[in-house]
């Protein structure tokens, strides 16, 4: 829908009492019911969706921001945030790579990002990027043939309302937590994936193909559904640093797997870091949850994350179906003054359910990192099994790593295993490698990659290669 048409529609159908300047595409900071109405109209949503949002908003107002995390950040003023900004118009964007921050380009170089992708990632006006349009088209054709639906959440709300009504908010209920409630009220973008019965999605789905405006929504909402015996592998993010003026990212991701279905969700994210004092960096507060609804269903979360100033996320699995499996493989890297409080929750409800957790944390500089994991075995989870391994690697002597494992066991036939190690990259180890002719940088990289191996091998191949490069770039200059 063209800009002009949309603006006319907004003017015509607006609720009374709306005072904002409706000519502009961008909302000034502030949040109230009118803000939400504006967003809903902008997205062309049906009435029931607006009601859903308003209901979430009203619940959010009654909630209090959580403060139990091992994190230190200045209070967020929710009235200072703008909740809707239109994607930059072509005229406002860099017209070529020459206009892009050279430091950003340097990072693309170090990460090995192919030349033709750099322009798109830097937000250069789309017309200048010849390849991306044709690639996306071929992609869509293959998916259509397989019967897989992959579109933006806004499109899904309009075109597949029944599926949305059936599944949205069923994994992360609106009132689940403070940030989920906020997200439910004001989300503006995100992915929707539906894989019908028996279908194995023919390719890995990547957010890269969906973003054409290079303006990541700060409140993204993603919903992925796999029916019986369906499978999909979804890749979120990319190693290129995400340039963003929005400070708060409160996304919600819901996964639903029915009988014998398998959803693999991989994230490699490199948020553009704040300055050396930790200012201006991104706050990444995300709720990700997978519901293994069906028997023998399986959900895996694999993630390599770095860059945000503050990270607060616990991708989790609810293991409802009998013999269902939940997996969590993670590498979290913090450097500079970053802080992370991350981990996972595995909730065993059904019989014979199994969960695997491999969490690796690397702390460098003056950063601080906490692993917080919950393994909960419900009373009916006969024969449930969990294996957890959480390892910390400290680089230098000014960083910190903490572990808060929680185990709530409600069934005596369950088996739980927990292993944890903490190690340091010692000067001795570096000297050993260097005395064999290996440079200090290569030695650190070798030791760190060895540390992360178990997680990297779970990543889709292209991501694994990028993840290694990402780690090297992040830890540059971390020693000494």
């Amino acid at each position: 829908m063209a800009s002009e048409e949309m603006e006319q529609l907004v003017r015509r159908e607006y609720k009374d009492g709306f005072v904002t300047d409706i000519e502009s595409d961008t909302l000034p900071p502030g949040l109230d019911e009118n803000t939400i109405a504006f967003i809903s109209k902008k997205k062309g949503e049906p009435e029931w969706m607006l009601e859903w949002r308003l209901d979430a908003y009203r619940q959010w107002l009654k909630m209090e921001e959580p403060s139990w995390a091992h994190l230190d950040y200045p209070p967020i003023d929710y009235q200072e945030i703008s909740y809707f900004s239109a994607p930059k118009r072509p005229e406002d964007r860099p017209q070529s790579l020459d206009e892009v921050d050279p430091k950003l380009l340097e990072t693309y170089e170090k990460l090995g990002i192919p030349l033709h992708e750099r322009a798109a990632l830097a937000g250069v006006a789309v017309d200048a990027v010849f390849d991306s349009v044709s690639v996306a088209t071929t992609f869509k054709k293959e998916l259509a043939e397989a019967g897989v639906i992959f579109c933006s959440i806004s499109e899904a709300i309009r075109d597949y309302p029944d599926l949305i009504k059936q599944y949205l908010g069923t994994v992360v209920p609106v009132a689940d937590n403070y940030f989920a409630a906020l997200n439910s009220a004001v989300f503006t973008d995100g992915s929707f994936v539906f894989v019908p019965e028996g279908v194995k999605c023919p390719m890995e789905l990547s957010t890269y193909f969906r973003i054409n405006a290079a303006n990541t929504g700060q409140f993204e909402r993603t919903l992925i559904i796999c029916e019986d015996r369906a499978q999909v592998s979804y890749l979120e993010g990319c190693t290129a640093p995400m340039r963003d003026e929005n400070q708060l990212h409160a996304a919600v991701v819901e996964l639903v797997a029915l009988d014998d279905a398998y959803i693999k969700y991989s994230t490699v994210q490199n948020w553009y870091p704040g300055d050396e004092e930790g200012k201006g960096g991104i706050y990444n507060f995300v709720t990700k949850r997978g519901d293994c609804r069906g028997e023998r269903s399986r959900i895996s979360w694999t993630q390599v994350e770095t860059g945000s100033a503050i990270t607060w996320k616990y991708p989790s699995c609810v293991l409802r179906g009998k013999d269902s499996i939940g997996e969590f493989y993670s590498v979290a890297v913090t450097n500079g003054r970053q802080q992370a409080d991350t981990g996972t929750k595995m909730i065993h409800i059904g019989e014979g359910t199994r969960s695997y957790i491999v969490a690796k944390g690397i702390s460098a500089g003056k950063s601080d990192q906490s692993y917080r994991g919950l393994v909960k075995i419900g009373p009916r989870a006969k024969g449930a099994r969990n294996f957890t391994q959480c390892d910390s690697l400290l680089i230098g002597d000014k960083c910190g790593a903490h572990t808060f494992p929680y185990q709530e066991i409600g069934n005596s036939t369950a088996t739980i295993e927990h292993e944890a190690t903490t190690s340091k990259i010692g000067e001795d180890q570096l000297f050993y490698c260097q005395s064999r002719g290996i440079s200090e940088e290569d030695a650190v990289s070798m030791i760190v990659n060895g540390f992360c191996k178990d997680v990297f091998q779970e990543l889709p191949m292209e991501f694994a290669v990028e993840a290694e490069a990402l780690l090297n770039v992040t830890l540059e200059g971390a020693v000494g």
Binding site: Q429, Y432, S435, R436, G437, E440, M446, K453
Partner: protein, 249 residues
């Protein structure tokens, strides 16, 4: 090949080496012996470039290059390799990966390309066999869970693969039983070549029965007080270090 002149080294404020002079030519095997605290390990650590050792006076040249001006890895790439007394463990990094990285780093420094994988595997397997080590060792993390003997064999294995110009072995015999020592000695002896020199730092004469040195130096109180041939080592065994100190004083 290696020329150490009047070397004075201070560690944590205390002077350990007090004017050490040593010349090692290609093709020679030298042994340095001495009582505890004399500075034996300090010498090899300084040549290798370990942090924490301050050179207050003197020089070290290797094939005409000023060693003290070179980075640790540059020294190794130039062919100066140290076999550790207490090799450190590096969890997560497989032995094969370390060997490959080290070998290719050296080749890169010499302007050669990386060794092709099949050729590399052949080379490594050959040396493994020679050291009577199992191929499974390659997949294990560097020194992780290794017995003392295995660690020392690993040091020699690396030498065999990396082919240094000067191999400095710091108490390579400590913690070894007779059989292990024979295997290690065979490995070291196989390194003997006209273009290569070997420096053995050792406490006991026993190793020198298996690796017969060309020159033996006695290091006492930070200085080399006596130099002789293999017979000197036997004399030390008989009379102890104090015997030598008296004869020198």
């Amino acid at each position: 090949m290696l020329q150490v002149n009047d070397l004075h080294v201070t560690v944590e404020g205390k002077e350990i080496l007090k004017g050490l002079t040593l010349t090692i030519n290609a093709g020679e095997v030298h042994a340095i012996m001495g009582p505890n605290g004399a500075g034996k390990s300090t010498l090899s650590a300084v040549i290798a470039g370990k942090d924490g050792y301050e050179v207050t006076q003197g020089s070290i040249t290797f094939e005409g290059q000023d060693v003290l001006e070179m980075e640790i890895e540059e020294r190794a790439q130039a062919g100066l390799l140290l076999g550790f007394q207490y090799p450190v463990e590096i969890p997560g990094v497989k032995n094969i990966y370390l060997l490959k990285s080290a070998l290719n780093a050296q080749r890169a420094a010499r302007g050669e390309g990386e060794m092709p994988a099949p050729e590399f595997m052949k080379l490594v397997k050959e040396k493994l066999g020679f050291m009577k080590m199992d191929a499974s060792f390659l997949q294990r993390a560097v020194n992780e869970g290794f017995s003392g003997g295995e660690k020392k064999r690993n040091e020699i294995l690396q030498m065999l693969v990396l082919q240094p110009k000067l191999a400095m072995l710091d108490e390579i015999d400590s913690g070894l039983d007779i059989d292990a020592m024979k295997v290690v000695a065979d490995g070291v002896n196989s390194l003997r070549a006209e273009e290569r020199a070997i420096l053995l730092v050792t406490h006991y004469q026993r190793l020198l029965d298996y690796i017969v040195p060309d020159k033996v130096h006695v290091l006492v109180d930070g200085r080399i007080v006596k130099t002789g041939d293999a017979e000197l080592a036997k004399e030390l065994e008989a009379n102890g270090y104090e015997g030598i100190e008296e004869s020198v004083a």
